[in-house]
Amino acid sequence: MAVLVYAEHNNHELKTETHKLITAANKMGDAVHVLVAGSNCAGVATQASEIDGVASVLVADNSVYEHQLAENISELVHSLASDYSHIVAAATTTGKNFMPRVAALLDVVQLSDVIAVDSADTFVRPIYAGNAIATVQSSDAVKVVTVRASAFDAAATGNSASISNVDAVYANQVSEFVSEEVTKSDRPELTAANIIISGGRGMQDGEHFAMLEGIADKLGAAVGASRAAVDAGFVPNDMQVGQTGKIVAPQLYIAVGISGAIQHLAGMKDSKVIVAINKDPEAPIFQVADYGLVADLFEALPELEAGL
């Protein structure tokens, strides 16, 4: 049977998570269909149809799906589920929000945050903040799976799959969108960036993050933070890299003034190359860093920026 992949997007742009989900989904079933649910999202559907390995794209384009409210989306996905062996979404705040509702409506379990697909019914997922890796097998008829996109390579593009409309409209009277504060940035998103430079408590305050931003702009990098920096109020929570924030796996991760608590390591230890800059030579971050520099970050960062 086919696999239904829920496209991650913001009504204008398809997120790269989706390309990675397609790679994961193609290991689960025979044909991969993509559902784009949103409002005025025809452009997103076209982008989805171009991903290699996509057999067809379904578009539910209606104002009730504009903010992808869990109550509406879960009913929509539930209504389509009988045609599929697997339902797959990214383990983002969107996927984590509506997918368990889909599972409950189908009376099946959900397999969360999958990092590898062993077979159609057997999946690998981290537990205990990534301190253990479980291989689990589901006996349910439909597998509802959220995928940690950073664990999979992005599928290439160049395809032109067929696009068809889904007319079903599921609205609800009990949940209503009020407002959103979207963090504006010209830099890439953390989960999509090839290079990330993150600051921790050692940055001392939020203003010093400008030193990281200067370097990030030269490298085309995203700026992240440890939970300690978020808890201290230096930067907003959407910059947090870690088990309770975003899980990333860039080509290069530069940790600045970050001690390397387990929960931070859980969010970045799959990065290809890790650099740590910290004045404490005993900091645990050095145990996972490919290149460690014991230095005062306030001296090292300007030198690093000048050297790029």
């Binding site: 705040t93 368990p100 409950a104 253990a132 097998q137 209503e176 907003p236 929570n237 860093a289 290149y291």
Partner: protein, 249 residues
């Protein structure tokens, strides 16, 4: 308004988890156990709503073996009025916990269920959303702010791109994120008083929920270890290594 707060007994978040040598599970022998940190935030939020006069009664629920009553007593010491323990031999899957909670929601009719967004053992992040679907309630997940206004609750959510605010009609399910509040510590007199608060014990059978697992754990292994690399002496050396050796710049 009643508030229902599910709490879970998990390994203490400061304890380093080890995998058993037969790869059957993690080794919890003699490990310190505590209330899941996100559940502590949920209890704190409920207590604050009671202190503001929004809530009249807070009921904590836990599902699992007898030892879980320790976490119910902890919750009572923090200000929860009474506890319900659904006793079973092990910890059921999220879907089953959600079904048990849905039954209790039916019996207790809370205006709000405040639940931790995930447990730090199974890391599933599912139970609240599943409960909301089963009980036909709206949900505000990953909350960083909760404001009850009459028949509604405004929930500010931590989403990937920033913050999103939703207006939900009560009854509703709210799941807690880290920044919602900073939980208090229990005071000794409150710990003593908690021992006398009412605690009901129920079973899954009484609630009519089948606890047969749907997922089999085939093996549990330690994560791949990452070897420490080298120390460089200067920013210049770092840049040279990144360019010529790692080839990432």
């Amino acid at each position: 308004m009643k508030i229902l707060v599910p709490v879970k007994r998990v390994i203490d978040y400061n304890v380093k988890v080890r995998v058993k040598s037969d790869q059957s599970d993690v080794d919890l022998t003699n490990a310190k156990m505590s209330m899941n940190p996100f559940c502590e935030i949920a209890v704190e939020e409920a207590v604050r709503l009671k202190e503001k006069g929004v809530a009249t009664e807070i009921i904590a629920v836990t599902v699992g073996p007898k030892a879980c009553q320790e976490q119910l007593r902890n919750a009572m010491a923090l200000g929860v009025d009474r506890g319900i323990h659904v006793e079973c031999d092990s910890f059921p899957e999220s879907l089953q916990v959600a079904k048990l909670l849905a039954k209790l929601v039916e019996q207790e009719q809370p205006g709000l269920v405040i639940i931790g967004k995930q447990a730090i053992d199974s890391d599933n992040n599912q139970t609240g959303q599943m409960l909301a679907a089963l009980s036909g309630m709206p949900q505000g997940t990953f909350a960083s702010e909760v404001v009850v206004e009459g028949e509604h609750v405004l929930v500010t959510r931590e989403v990937d791109g920033g913050l999103q605010t939703l207006k939900l009609t009560l009854p509703a399910v709210v799941s807690t994120d880290l920044r919602l509040n900073e939980p208090r510590y229990a005071k000794l007199p409150d710990i003593m008083k908690a021992k006398r608060k009412p605690l009901d014990v129920k079973t899954a059978d009484e609630l009519g929920v089948d606890l047969t697992p749907r997922v089999t754990t085939l093996k549990v292994t330690p994560p791949p270890t990452r070897e420490a690399g080298i120390k460089v002496d200067s920013v210049q050396e770092l840049l040279t290594k990144l360019r010529d050796e790692a080839k990432v710049l």
